[in-house]
């Protein structure tokens, strides 16, 4: 049904394009220059599907951790990640073309929606197969939710960025490298439209011994994930639309799961199968990775929910302030558990905090935009934000987060040094949500003051 290698040629072409990178043609935001101002460029020939102004150059970047993405000659790896330019964000919606993506398998699926099917099976009274047209006949919902990769903001991404920089050794690449995008850019928010999974499960009739779901995609490596049935019956959306149009191929066209508030890896794209089972399947993405390693070598598995998290997006380390004076500090806050109820901002290194204004309405499990007026006196300072959700969960500092991880190790490891663990964080460290301070220097430059410190 889904052809296995629709894109082999595209893959080879990509290889050629990567080879081109070696010659210095690097397609990153700050390496780009606006298109040449020639008559044939204006006006665009076809206005039937709009394009943004040629002066707008905000783009996703590849992760520098995936050196195979930027170094020609290495064997092919995963498609890799494309990271959202949060530094350019306004409001709460991420444009679909800038929504972060994690590509699994060797190529982007190219699925004909007329042939795509979703099967609900396993411990159900009536196994069912739905066409896309049939799914669109069913009652639908539209909800605004963030999706965040569980590994977002991990120390490993900062380390990978440094490694990638050394390997790539390209000034153009260096200029486009910002913590806010390279380390934090695995989160985005969209309006998702589709059918609640609970509706489909009800049509199929879940049997009483069913307690988990195994969802599988039709992508090259057939990404699959175990999810508790309770979540599937709660608020999971089988989505065919994103921000008012069909879900993009990078986001799972023609059909994906949106699992609100939970780690990105659960949001299975190219969804073709949901099987009701009676236990988790202990798949690779729930054992070998997406598990949180603790200092004693054991790992926590089946943690799902994104913690309370916020980030100042302007000014951040992608920006340069021209001088002292007025700036509106703005940023994003989100929580996998519910609505953001408060965001506080400190402009003096955490000595005092002020409540920021929250953009209304505030949606549950979605970006919340916050804003605070600020007069910069021109002196060096640290700016940072921390959020609280409707349950009173407060975003931790890096130190508090380290303690939390250590404390969660039961029994506690005698003599374990949680701070040292953080410093030597293993490859797998997920659900990282520390407060991110930015250092504003007297020359107006803004730098990361979390990972570098």
């Amino acid at each position: 049904m889904h052809s296995k290698h629709p894109n082999r040629r595209g893959f080879l072409k990509r290889g050629a394009a990567l080879a081109g990178l070696a010659a210095g043609a690097i397609p990153f935001a700050n390496a780009q220059t606006p298109a040449s101002d020639t008559a044939e460029d204006r006006p665009p020939k076809d206005l039937s599907y709009g394009v943004r102004s040629r002066f707008e150059i905000s783009v996703r970047t590849v992760t520098l951790g995936g050196v195979r993405d930027v170094i020609p000659g290495l064997p092919p790896g995963e498609m890799g990640q494309r990271l959202t330019p949060l530094q350019d964000s306004t409001g709460i919606i991420t444009p679909a073309p800038l929504h972060f993506m994690t590509g699994r398998g060797s190529h982007l699926p190219d699925i004909d929606p007329r042939e795509h099917r979703l099967m609900i099976h396993g411990m159900v009274d009536r196994p069912l197969v739905f066409t896309m047209d049939e799914l669109k006949r069913l009652p639908s919902v539209s909800r605004i939710h963030f999706i965040e990769c569980a590994g977002n903001s991990g120390v490993s991404h900062y380390k990978a960025m440094q490694t990638g920089l050394k390997v790539a050794n390209s000034p153009a690449l260096t200029r486009s490298t910002h913590v806010i995008q390279q380390v934090h850019g695995r989160v985005s928010t969209s309006e998702w439209t589709g059918v609640l999974l609970s509706v489909l499960l009800k049509e199929a009739g879940v049997q009483k011994n069913g307690s988990w779901l195994v969802a599988e995609g039709a992508d090259a490596n057939r990404h699959a994930k175990s999810i508790p049935l309770e979540k599937g019956l709660d608020d999971v959306i089988v989505a065919y639309s994103q921000n008012g149009e069909a879900v993009r191929p990078e986001q799972g066209y023609p059909l994906r799961m949106v699992v609100p508030g939970w780690e990105g890896v659960s949001n299975v794209k190219y969804l073709r199968s949901v099987k009701v089972v009676d236990k988790p399947y202990f798949l690779k993405v729930e054992t070998a990775n997406y598990t949180n390693m603790t200092p004693d070598g054991k790992a926590n598995w089946y943690g799902f929910q994104v913690g309370p998290k916020s980030l100042i997006t302007y000014p951040s380390d992608a920006h340069q302030l021209p001088g002292k004076g007025f700036y509106e500090i703005t940023g994003l806050a989100w929580s996998g558990r519910g609505a953001i109820s408060r965001v506080e901002v400190s402009t003096n290194g955490g000595r005092t905090w002020k409540d920021a204004q929250l953009q209304q309405p505030v949606f549950r499990k979605a970006f919340t935009r916050f804003r605070l007026p600020w007069n910069w006196d021109g002196e060096e300072t640290l700016i940072q934000s921390r959020c609280t959700n409707e349950y009173g969960d407060i975003q931790p500092t890096r130190k508090e987060l380290g303690k939390l991880w250590g404390d969660e190790t039961q029994p506690p490891v005698a003599g374990s040094d949680v701070e040292a663990f953080w410093e030597n964080a293993p490859i797998m460290e997920f659900f990282s949500n520390p407060i991110q301070p930015w250092r504003v220097a007297r020359d107006g430059s803004v730098q990361d003051a979390l990972y570098k410190s």
């Binding site: 290495l74 049509e203 407060i394 969660e408």
Partner: protein, 196 residues
Amino acid sequence: MRFTRASLVVQVAALAACGAAWAQSPTYKVGRPPTEAELRAWDNVVGTDGKELPPGSGTAKDGAKVYAGKCSFCHGQTATEGPAPRLVGGVDSLSTRNPVLTLGSQWPFATTVWDYINRSMPRDAEGSLTPDQVYAVTAFLLYKNDIVKETEVLDAKTLLKVQMPNRAGFYPAKPEATAKNGNWKPNWNQAKPASK
């Protein structure tokens, strides 16, 4: 400082018990039953019970050839060189400052190895291996990790008996024990809702 440990919860899963009291008859009557062929083709994500494992078998000896032909290009001649992830070694390294994470040192179930190779490998030809080849290359990688013998035949029954070194390396040690009765809870504390 307003931070308290109880409220500092990163991993929370508010899995409110769902009263699963719903009608057992369909409401919309949209969709159709799958065909046998569709079920066969799509019902093959393999869990730890191995119910979905197909017939077939292989040994490490058979698997060495499959590995050399299909896997070594990315994973290296001895499955340690890369550049794709290392597959061999690292047992007992997980509690050190430099844990070596491989399927031998880290993965808790052999079914996971079989399932991932079967559905997701090799890159650019995912799903192209026959069941015999998957059993064989699984056997080869487990043999290289000193988990099975070179002549041991892996099939749908023997695969389930393989004891992985890191089987107990996760908290809680036996999550499936609590999953069975529908009382599954995340292994993280959960903050109580703030009084409003």
